[in-house]
């Protein structure tokens, strides 16, 4: 049974996580004004249809507002934290060009993203064991080459505490 809708791939987690526009933390609101008809607004329409879900997925705290058929010319407007507003004219641009442009002007650079990822990795130590939420592995028995989990495979007699205690009492 295929997925419902026109381009249902837009509704997959893999597609959403493929968005590469991550805005700087000073960008608070993004407003898109576009028209539902007319070929000058075509790129803006495609942008709203394909790229806005990706952007919102990657920037969950960004407020995105869409306005349809309010002005003849399509544009994007960003409201930054210091009160600044950035107006981006998107008339006669394809949606790819629009995403490239906003990534260049207001997106986090690759170095910043890599640095953030490294910082995040530093917080958790990969060699510890514990709940899946905080550690990579839960128990030593998960690793290949180590003693398997006694829940699945009974331990050999010599390792069981019952046997060891009996041997000690005997001696």
């Amino acid at each position: 049974m295929p997925m419902k809708g026109r381009f249902p791939i837009r509704r997959t987690l893999q597609y959403l996580s493929q968005g590469d526009v991550i805005f700087k933390s000073s960008v608070k609101v993004m407003t898109v004004n576009y028209n539902t008809a007319g070929e000058r607004s075509e790129g803006a329409r495609k942008f709203v249809f394909f790229n806005i879900p990706q952007i919102q997925y990657k920037n969950p705290w960004l407020q995105i507002m869409l306005f349809r058929n309010m002005t003849p010319s399509p544009f994007l407007r960003f409201y930054l934290d210091n009160g600044e507003q950035v107006l981006v004219d998107v008339e006669d641009k394809t949606n790819k060009e629009i995403t490239e442009h906003i990534k260049k002007i207001l997106g986090k650079s690759k170095e910043t993203l890599e640095k953030e990822e490294r910082e995040k990795k530093k917080l958790s130590h990969p060699a510890t064991f514990g709940p899946k939420k905080y550690h990579l592995r839960e128990c030593m028995c998960e690793i290949e080459g180590q003693v398997p989990c006694p829940a699945l495979v009974p331990l050999p007699k010599e390792m069981r505490g019952k046997y060891k205690a009996a041997m000690k009492n005997e001696a």
Partner: protein, 137 residues
């Protein structure tokens, strides 16, 4: 811990005015896109905020930009009106600076330009009828 602005998470928000019945306060509806976890589609989720509007210049239907106040003004009012982005009935296109409505500019609406052939012939006929002839009484 310093709180330079906003005892509130949302520092700048854009919304639509839905009520101005309170004195110097505007009721603003703000929509955010929220992902539905099963459908994986974004839907608008609305929330109303109250904003301080000292000059009472908001009309129902304006699109406004709100700024978070440094501390709460009253129990519900935590924002103030920073700027009216689009005034209802009087939208100015920011790229050209001209007033517009829908997908048309309002500025160059002159009588002669947007009329079709049929319109001009009809109008000229009517004008002929109205012409005052000196022979008539």
């Amino acid at each position: 811990m310093s709180v330079p602005r906003g005892a509130v998470h949302a520092k700048w928000i854009v919304g639509k005015v839905i009520g101005t019945k309170m004195q110097k306060t505007a009721k603003v509806r703000v929509t955010r896109l929220v992902l539905d976890p099963y459908l994986l589609k974004f839907f608008n989720k609305r929330k109303t905020y109250f904003a301080h509007d000292p000059l009472q210049q908001c009309v129902v239907g304006d699109i406004v930009l709100l700024k978070a106040l440094p501390e709460r003004r009253s129990k519900h009012v935590k924002h103030e009106l920073a700027e009216i982005v689009f005034k209802v009935g009087n939208v100015i296109d920011p790229i050209t600076g001209k007033p517009c409505a829908g997908t048309r500019f309002l500025e160059n609406l002159s009588d002669s330009e947007n009329l079709t052939e049929a319109d001009t012939t009809y109008l000229s006929e009517k004008l002929q009828e109205l012409k005052v002839c000196p022979t008539d009484k």
